[in-house]
Symmetry: C2
Subunit: 285 residues, 2 copies
């Protein structure tokens, strides 16, 4: 099975109401008058990082990717659990994790450590506290809403290719926690851009039952010459959100399009309908 | 690093108060008047299961191992998140997970799916609700307490070796959830036996600052002829606990020894002090 098929099969298992039908990035769990946000992300050698990668960066990215999911829910981090495969560079992993935890003021709550014989896989569960109800989801974009991103896309792509200026954004992405908390009260839908702007726009449109019409000229990209690639590359971890046209935004963001009633394609790029998510971004498996 | 060294290094990172110093199996998180119990366990191909294992059993065991950690805290399961490596037997994994979730009345809350190139690693985060405060821990055994187990050890060993009678306990272990909830109000310390009775007794004694004196003749074992091995093999998932001598137990359990003030060894087996955890059970990494 590929990832899409597997997740479709998971939806037939007993699902918790907080699972949001496995259509969102996080689970939402009301507990004793508060609401927790829980997410789990994994990184695998060869798939998410190269075998010669500095594990300090891998640890940072693992935390950042999880916190980015919390950011998209407007959640404040509470703690994380680590699932770790012992290997040859454990000390570097610990250094990077320590630095990342201290940078974001997050504490380790527990986890598990295993010896593996093959490539390494790391998992992390992040727990946050919702700062606003209802908790934003991917689902909720309304016809007439404006579409925004919190920053340029394509920087991670350039960093991956070795561009000095963008290396740090690839190795040590920044979860938009403050932005997510500030935006939560006014967005109609929000998610982080982990797999590519166009693919994530397609997904938001799909679950919201609307069409997202993107104006490519308005999209902030790291390289104008490679705009198409920038819109399809992942790992930038900016926030994508929709909000009513007249909403006063509390953070810097760039408007990149308008939500329309569902047409035959959930995504339009300029005057081109994009009915199929293939080739819009990074798809696992 | 081996697992012990890695966990020691993790203790130098910023820890959440609910991490219990990484000396317990679960994190304990008070949220708005309730208390959540959170645990994360992993299983790796070649280390925890063979490459030809039925992934339906692996999925069951992954859930059971996590629920067993909740059981030792007297927690009632709320839901789980799955970290999954796509492979060749995904359908079997899903069948086993579905069956296990329905058997224990647990719902899936979310997770992540990755494509991996090497051996598979699966992770699961289980979330439960404490049914009794304070939440039992490994730490808390008191001199004078009696030591108990909820059932025989060594059955998983015999099942692993192909003994038909014990095959199901190896492939599909049973988390002692009801027992854990019933025992939580009266135990001074409790943990599940995942890595071997003697090793887990040693660990409980170590963190409690006491000595556990075990009477081997009293230990319920699956094979009297192989008593020493039964006490060192893991995967049985019975509960090990200590309680005051006069406590009336609400569930069936066998007394296997007495807690004493700390002597030079944290564990005594009959008249033999066992100062070192080596060779007492299964140690990872």
């Amino acid at each position: 099975m590929n990832e899409t098929e597997f997740v479709a099969a998971l939806r037939k298992l007993p699902l918790h109401p907080g699972a949001r039908g496995l259509e969102d990035d996080c689970a939402v769990l009301p507990v004793g008058g508060e609401t927790l946000i829980i997410t789990h992300d994994m990184m695998s050698e060869d798939t998410h990082f190269l075998s010669h990668a500095d594990l300090a960066d891998v640890a940072w990215k693992l935390l950042a990717a999880n916190l980015s999911d919390l950011a998209a829910k407007g959640a404040e981090p509470v703690g994380v659990l680590l699932g770790y495969s012992l290997g040859s560079s454990d000390a570097r992993f610990l250094e990077g994790l320590d630095e990342a935890l201290r940078t974001y003021g997050v504490a380790l709550m527990g986890g598990d450590t295993v010896a593996t014989t093959g490539t390494s896989t790391y998992g992390m569960t992040a727990i946050g506290r919702a700062t606003h109800l209802p908790v934003p989801s991917r689902k909720g974009a309304q016809a007439g809403d404006a579409i925004y991103v919190t920053g340029p896309v394509g920087r991670a792509m350039l960093g991956y290719e070795g561009d000095e200026e963008h290396l740090s954004i690839f190795n040590r992405p920044v979860p938009r926690l403050a932005e997510g908390m500030a935006l939560a009260p006014l967005v109609s839908a929000m998610m982080d851009i982990s797999d590519g702007l166009l693919l994530d726009c397609w997904r938001m449109a799909w679950v919201s039952g609307v069409t997202l019409a993107i104006d490519s000229a308005a999209v902030p990209v790291a390289s104008q010459a490679r705009m198409q690639e920038c819109m399809r590359w992942g790992d930038d971890y900016e926030l994508l959100f929709t909000a009513p046209e007249d909403a006063a935004l509390p953070v810097a963001a760039t408007r990149i399009g308008t939500v329309r009633a569902r047409e035959h394609a959930p995504l339009w790029l300029d005057e081109t309908p994009l009915p199929d998510p293939a080739n819009l971004g990074y798809r696992h498996g």
